[in-house]
C-alpha cells in the first residue's frame, strides 16, 4: 500500500494485458475511430430517456444531473470475486452480530474490546432499540460496502454503509445500458448477471416479515419524497420489486399496525424498506419536527407488527470511529481473522497521533466522522496549502470529529476520456442483502474519478460510474 504507482487493473507493469481484460482489450482495438465517442453519446441519450438523475446539494446551477457513465466496463475475475465476496459476507455477518450484541447484553463492551463511551455516547447509537428482537436477528439487511483495490491481491474496505446505501439503481441501469450499447462484447465473455437484484431484494424483505404477515407480505418503499437526491432510485426499486412507493403521509398507524392509504381503502403493510434517516422516521419517537416520517411507526415496529429495513440504529456499526474496530468485531463474534483489510486510521484525540497527523497532513485523507458523499473531506495530495491549513485548524478545534487515513493509491481502469482511453481511479460498492441468507450481487457499482489523478469518486464531486463485470468460470 502507498507505493506511488497505482495498480492498473488492465495492464501489467510490462504493458501486457491482464487475463480478465483480454476480451475487452481485443474489442477496444477493433472499435472504429470515434466508435467510443458515438457509444458515449448513445449512452447519454439512454440515461436521459430513463430519467436517471441525481441532485447535487449546494450546487448553483440546475440541481438535477445525469450521472456520467463510462462505456468501458470494469472487469473482475471469478477468483478475485470469490475472495472478495467471502470477505464481504464475513463482514456483514460480524456487523449484524455486533448490532445484536450492542442492543442486548453488550458483551463486547464488557470485554473491553471497544471503548464503552465510543458506543454509548455515540449519536448513531439508538437507545430505543435496546432489547428488540428483529426478525432473524438481522439489523442491517441492505448494505453497500465501499472497497478499493490497491494491488493484484490487495483490497481495502473504506466504509460499510449500513444505513441506507444508495446507487444500486445505477448498477442495474449501467448493466442495461451496456447490454444495449455493446451486445457483442457480452458474447465474448461470461458475465455474471446483476438483474436478479430486485428479485433478491424482494425475497430478502419477505424473509424478515413479522410473524403474523402471512405468505405474501406487503412491502412498501418509504421515500422522503421527490426532493431527495435518490428519489429516482426509490421509485425504481419499488417498481422493479412490485412494491408500493410511499411517502410518510401515505402511511399511518392504527391499532398498533401500519397501513397504507390506497384507492381501495387502507392496506396493512408488513415490511417497510425505508429510505428515510432514523432521525426523521417517526416524530413520536425521534425528531418531533420531522414531517417526512410516520408517527407511531417505531412503536408499531417494537410491538412486532411491522419490520423496518434497515433497522433504526444500524449507523452505530458503520460509524467512522467504530470502523477502526471492525477487525476486532470480526474476531470477537466469528473467531476469525478479517479477510478484507481495514484502512489504517489515525485517531486525532490521541495527542501523539494528532501531532503526527498535523505534520503530515499533505499526504493524508481527512474525513468528518459523520460526513458522507465526499462532503467535508480533504485529500491531502490533491489539496492546496490553504486547504491543508484549514483542515489543521478544524482538527485542532474538534479532534473527535475527524478521522485521518493514509492516501491510498486507488487502482485505475481504462476509461473513455475525450475519444481516447486513459486510466482513471476507481472504487467498488458491492451490494449485499441479508435476510434468510446472505445474497451478494456479483460486482456492484464502480465509481470512477473522471478528473485525471483525482481520488474522489463520489458522483456529487464529479465522479462517474461504470458497468462492473464479474466473470464466471
Amino acid at each position: 500500500m502507498g507505493e506511488n504507482t497505482p495498480f492498473d487493473e488492465m495492464y501489467n507493469a510490462d504493458g501486457s494485458v491482464r487475463e480478465p481484460y483480454r476480451a475487452l482489450s481485443e474489442w477496444l482495438a477493433e472499435q472504429p475511430e470515434k466508435g467510443l465517442a458515438l457509444m458515449q453519446a448513445d449512452a447519454e441519450a439512454i440515461f436521459r430517456k430513463l430519467g436517471i438523475t441525481f441532485a447535487v446539494y449546494g450546487s448553483e446551477e440546475g440541481t438535477e444531473k445525469v450521472i456520467p457513465f463510462d462505456v468501458i466496463p470494469r472487469i473482475i475475475a471469478a477468483n478475485e470475486w470469490r475472495k472478495l465476496s467471502r470477505g464481504i459476507e464475513q463482514r456483514v455477518k460480524a456487523l449484524n452480530a455486533f448490532l445484536y450484541d450492542i442492543y442486548h447484553r453488550q458483551e463486547i463492551l464488557k470485554a473491553g474490546r471497544i471503548p464503552e463511551k465510543l458506543i454509548l455516547n455515540n449519536a448513531a447509537f439508538c437507545p430505543q432499540m435496546m432489547g428488540l428482537e428483529p426478525a432473524r436477528g438481522v439489523y442491517a439487511h441492505i448494505i453497500g460496502v465501499d472497497i478499493v483495490r490497491v494491488g493484484p491481491d490487495e483490497f481495502y474496505v473504506l466504509e460499510d454503509n449500513l444505513r441506507t446505501p444508495s446507487g444500486v439503481s445505477y448498477m442495474l441501469e449501467d448493466r442495461e445500458a451496456m447490454m444495449m450499447l455493446a451486445p457483442d462484447l457480452f458474447q465474448r465473455s461470461k458475465v455474471a448477471p446483476v438483474e436478479t437484484y430486485p428479485e433478491n431484494l424482494r425475497r430478502t424483505l419477505e424473509s424478515v416479515a413479522p410473524a403474523g404477515a402471512g405468505r405474501n407480505p406487503v412491502i412498501a418503499v418509504l421515500t422522503p419524497g421527490i426532493y431527495n437526491s435518490a428519489y429516482f432510485e426509490h421509485s425504481f426499486l419499488a417498481d422493479q420489486m412490485g412494491a408500493q412507493l410511499c411517502e410518510g403521509q401515505d402511511l399511518f398507524v392504527d391499532g398498533g399496525k401500519v397501513y397504507m392509504r390506497t384507492t381501495t381503502g387502507p392496506e396493512r403493510v408488513d415490511v417497510i424498506y425505508r429510505r428515510i434517516d432514523d432521525d426523521y422516521l417517526d416524530p413520536l419517537t425521534f425528531r418531533p419536527d420531522s414531517m417526512l416520517g410516520v408517527p407511531g411507526i417505531f412503536d408499531a415496529y417494537r410491538a412486532g407488527n411491522v419490520t423496518l429495513v434497515n433497522a433504526p440504529g444500524t449507523g452505530i456499526a458503520d460509524d467512522k470511529a467504530v470502523y477502526t474496530y471492525v477487525p476486532e468485531i470480526i474476531e470477537f463474534y466469528l473467531g476469525e481473522k478479517a479477510l478484507l483489510n481495514n484502512v489504517p486510521t489515525y485517531n486525532c484525540t490521541d495527542v501523539d497521533q494528532r501531532a503526527w497527523v498535523l505534520e503530515n497532513i499533505a499526504e493524508l485523507v481527512v474525513k468528518e466522522v459523520h460526513g458522507s458523499g465526499g462532503y467535508g473531506m480533504m485529500v491531502g495530495p490533491t489539496s492546496t496549502k490553504a486547504q491543508h491549513e484549514e483542515f489543521k485548524k478544524k482538527i485542532i478545534a474538534r479532534p473527535d470529529n475527524y478521522i485521518v487515513q493514509p492516501t491510498l493509491a486507488l487502482s485505475t481502469c481504462p476509461t473513455h476520456i475525450n475519444n481516447d482511453v486513459a486510466p482513471r481511479h476507481v472504487d467498488l460498492r458491492p451490494y449485499v442483502l441479508v435476510g434468510d441468507e446472505v445474497r451478494i450481487t456479483p460486482g456492484g457499482l464502480t465509481r470512477v474519478a473522471l478528473k485525471k489523478g483525482s481520488l474522489v469518486v463520489n458522483s456529487s464531486q464529479g465522479g462517474g460510474t461504470k458497468d462492473t463485470w464479474v466473470l464466471e468460470d
Binding site: 463492551l109 437507545p127 399511518f252 392504527d254 391499532g255 398498533g256 413520536l284 407511531g296
Partner: protein
Amino acid sequence: MRISIDHRLSFTPPPGTGQAVFHLLLTPRSGPTQTVESWSVEGPGIGNAGRFTDGFGNAAHLVNQIRPEGEIVFHVRGEVETRDSHGVLGRPAGEAVPALYRRSTELPKVPAAFKGDFANTGGTRLDLLHALMAEVGAALGMPDQAPTQMQADGGQAQTSADEPEERPMPADYAHLFIGAARSLDIPARYVVGYRLADDDEGGLHAWAETFDEGLGWIGFDPHQQLCPTERYVRLAVGLDADTAPTLRAVPAIKDQDLDHRVSLKSVLTSID
C-alpha cells in the same frame, strides 16, 4: 403498604387534527419493591392499542385516534402493594444493561464544581451518592413545601404569573443528580412514578436510580432528600424525562396543556 391510584390525564388536540398518535407509559410493572394488584388504563383507542416493551423495559401503549374531537381523557386506576427496601431495587430481570445509563443526554446539566467535589471523596459509592443527593438539594434548594402535583410529565421548572421565580421541580432535581452521577461514571436513570405524601395526598413524582455492582439499582429522591420508601410507586424509567414521558403525542402537546389529576390513597388491608 397498599396504594390506590386514580390518575386522570386529559388534553385537547388542536382542532382539525386528522390523526393523533399517543405513546403511553402508564402501566407499572411488578418488581422487587412493588406488586401490581390491579391496573386498568381506559381511554379512546386503548382497546386495540399496540402493546409492547420499550427500550428501557417499560410497558408501553401505542394508541391512535382518527379525527379526534374535543377533550381526550386517559383514566388510569389501580392498586399497588409496595415494600420498603431502603431504596434498593436490585437487578430486576429483563432490564437493559446498566451501562446504557452512562449515556450522556442533553437534559442533565452539571455544574463543573460537582465533579471535582466528589471524585476523590474516599468512602463507599453509597456514601458518595448520599453526599451527591445532599449537594443537589443544596444547589436547587430544599422545597419548603413539597408540591403534591407535578407540572405535567417532565415536571420541569415553569414560571407563572404569581410566581416569577422558577421553582425547580422534582424532575430538575432528578436530572441534576443523574447528570452528576454519570459524570462520575455511575449509571443513573430517571424514574417517573407516584409518591404518596405523608398526609395521604400525593401525585406524579420523579426521582433517580443509580447502579451499584454490589446492590444493583438504588433509588434516590433528591427532591425529598431520601431513598424511595414504600410510599413510592415506579411507573417507568428512562435516560431522562424526555425518554420516559407518561404521554407523548403527535401532534405534540405542550406540558402546560396536559392536565394530570392524580389522587393517591393508602388502602388498609384488613385482617379479620
